[in-house]
Symmetry: C2
Subunit: 439 residues, 2 copies
């Protein structure tokens, strides 16, 4: 109602919200509950211009008159300054956000999959119109992580980002570690408790973590990294035996997202980005990150090691990250500035997983007779893989042999394990797992 | 040499550096080593216009022709866009930075004491000229913490900030915990190893942590909090007996900076900001923060709990934080925007320590006879302090009595301890320490 405003009233920031599920509802709640604070912090009030939903008749705790099914019209409406997207998925979200950005609307999104697949297109559209693109909520929920990477560490050289970025798999692995139960049983329990989706594929097969790894690597290394560049292994194959083997070595198993800057002897730099389960020492700070929490370690040349820890998902934490971005975008509109743009100037090549140096833990059931260790050790030598530690324990009929390697290329380690599995003296390969978080 | 530049060359960002000690030298090194990256990230090259030092003849690894003793002329020079201050102290730094800001130069500073005492003056000068004021390096060294508080959590309601923000005292307390040695002996060792200054007052008496707490509280609660508002107790009185008592209870002692939003029954909010040693459970994430590392816990309504961890001091980590701010300021100058301004609209009153709810651990040597516990317990009841746990152990001649209280006002707890110390059955008050980090 323009008639109510005086001539000096500050123009409000008008927000279109796309999606009104758990996160969207929380965004509306925070915008309402904190309206006065937000006005003070931004220098202008924030108002909801509309909320695009698919099913307008579903019960929601939001003002009904704001609901619309016409997302396409909403995102380009002259009445909208900022588009907040919490629908998720690639389509139709991609088209909506591109339209919004092209129309000069700044975008705040929590959509990790979209950013990991089509981030460059979104950035280009934002650049063309001078709009802002913020996405703190896309990785590690409420934990301020992308802003530190994009801004706080912008004067440093980041060498490594490693973390736990998926709450569902972390819940499952934490529970397996606590109870000794197997994967299938624990997944069922996680579903019952609401920690796993009915279709858990995106989480347990590592797709969600891989999207986040792509986003983290892009920001950390000033390079376009998409989901296709990320090596990905989920947790379906993690067994109770793997967890027990880790425990026996003072380690625990976590699904890690690892983004590394790798320098070849020639001086050529590349980025190696991967998601896979790995054993880490129980003394490592990531080891005590349990349940639905996320934590990310960042290493930079000057800053050294840092860790960021907090709630990685959920309506309120994700909404907090969305609101932080919304305040930033709104401040930019009030003050006439712009947030950081895509920074991909380094354009480093992606290193294939086979060339990436890793370390393996291998646990074998072997025949308890002379010469077994020498046969096994010969296979390692043949593949130029150096052994860091061996533990052999005899039992009545057979023996267990546990080997931890030094770093070698992942390809060499895989070939070694394949060949060892075929040795007649090896009865069973009980557990094979990468080892991280120690020298 | 302007003749070398084409007509479309981007105007470089010209930087005046004040101070060239450990941090300053690292700033120069990073500006040089990363010049190409910084140009790409900012969109313009960054150049040093001059370095103000007191003793120009001292050997330094920086270009000699940039050195000047005339800091006052440098900070207002037409050739300077940004002033980076790593001198420290209140005077003459305060005047230099006010002059710089008034002249429209953006300022990046690591000066916690200056910000905690005169932050509002600096912000006002920045606002008057439209300059930026950034100070990430002032708290927790390289750990991105202030940007998350000022920006990432700008849409949330922060309720608590608690952390370890002083590396020297953390080194001393970690060493006391590891060795069982007393304070004086451990301080001496810390000095020998370079972890404590010749005059350790600023660290061990909590002044440094109190300045940082004031800055954190100001940002978290959108309120002006100065060092004078911060309750401060250092670690000089922490004894080997305190550390041993903590260990016996599964706890460890840390010097904590705690900033809380407190809501009175009337609904009136205030801020309680304090620095003191406290016992925390060994299972608390802050317990494993050892040596010169810093870690800060942040709690917000929507985001929940977060932790930030990393190197809290040192030349390179501090320089990393300074460079991150320098990139932000430079980007703002290139893109025509401004960073966040002072946000003090909430103007919450400071709550005195006596009114602040805390919990105490009290360890007593008492006479081993009937009725001791009832006499001691009566004193607690008299002061309306509720007891959470008691452990009494008889010995040959006397007994030890350990009490952990529920939350009560600090004033009530202090009176209780004073009165208990005067009871004839109490032979010695072995240890009194606040308890944090548990329900």
């Amino acid at each position: 109602m323009p008639g109510k405003e005086g001539p000096n009233a500050v123009k409000p920031i008008r927000v279109a919200l796309l999606g009104c599920g758990t996160v969207g509802t929380e965004v509306v709640r925070l915008l309402t509950d904190q309206a006065d604070d937000l006005t003070q912090r931004i220098g202008a009030p924030v108002e909801l211009a509309g909320i695009a939903v698919r099913r307008p008749n579903k019960h929601r705790e939001v003002p009904e008159h704001l609901l619309t099914t016409d997302a396409a019209a909403l995102v380009t409406s002259a009445d909208v300054d900022v588009v907040v997207e919490v629908i998720g998925g690639i389509d139709p979200t991609r088209g909506l956000l591109l339209d919004a950005l092209r129309a000069g609307k700044s975008v705040v999104t929590a959509n990790k999959a979209l950013l990991a697949e089509h981030g460059p297109d979104l950035f280009e559209a934002a650049d063309a119109s001078g709009a802002d693109l913020y996405f703190e909520a896309a990785v590690a929920g409420a934990i301020p992580l992308l802003r530190p990477l994009r801004e706080s560490l912008a004067g440093d050289r980041i060498t490594r980002v490693m973390g736990i970025v998926n709450g569902t798999t972390n819940f499952i692995l934490s529970a397996m570690d606590a109870t000794g139960a197997g994967y299938a049983e624990t997944l069922e329990e996680a579903s019952r408790l609401g920690y796993a989706e009915a279709d858990p594929t995106a989480d347990v097969d590592g797709f969600d973590a891989a999207s986040k790894a792509a986003i983290l690597a892009s920001l950390a290394f000033h390079t376009r990294v998409t989901a296709a560049d990320v090596y990905r292994e989920g947790i379906r194959a993690v067994s109770a035996a793997d967890i027990a083997a880790a425990r026996g070595l003072g380690r625990t198993v976590k699904l890690l997202a690892i983004c590394e800057r790798v320098t070849a002897p020639s001086g050529q730099e590349s980025v190696a980005v991967r998601v896979h389960p790995a054993m880490i020492p129980r003394t490592h700070p990531l080891a005590s990150v349990n349940g639905a929490f996320n934590a990310v370690f960042v290493e930079a040349d000057a800053a050294g090691e840092m860790m960021f820890y907090g709630q990685g998902a959920g309506g309120a934490p994700t909404a907090s990250a969305v609101l932080g971005d919304l305040v930033a975008v709104a401040r930019n509109q009030v003050a006439g500035g712009r947030g950081p743009r895509e920074s991909a100037y380094a354009a480093l090549p992606a290193q294939p997983m086979g060339h990436t140096p890793t370390r393996y833990h291998i646990s074998l059931d072997v025949a308890d007779k002379a010469g077994v260790l020498s046969q096994v050790a010969a296979v390692f030598a043949e593949h130029d893989v150096s052994i860091a530690a061996v533990r052999q324990e005899g039992r009545v009929e057979d023996a267990s042999l546990v080997i931890v390697t030094h770093a070698a290329t992942d390809a060499a380690l895989r070939s070694t394990v394949d060949k060892i599995g075929g040795l007649p003296v090896v009865r069973d390969v009980v557990s094979v797992m990468r080892v991280e978080g120690e020298e």
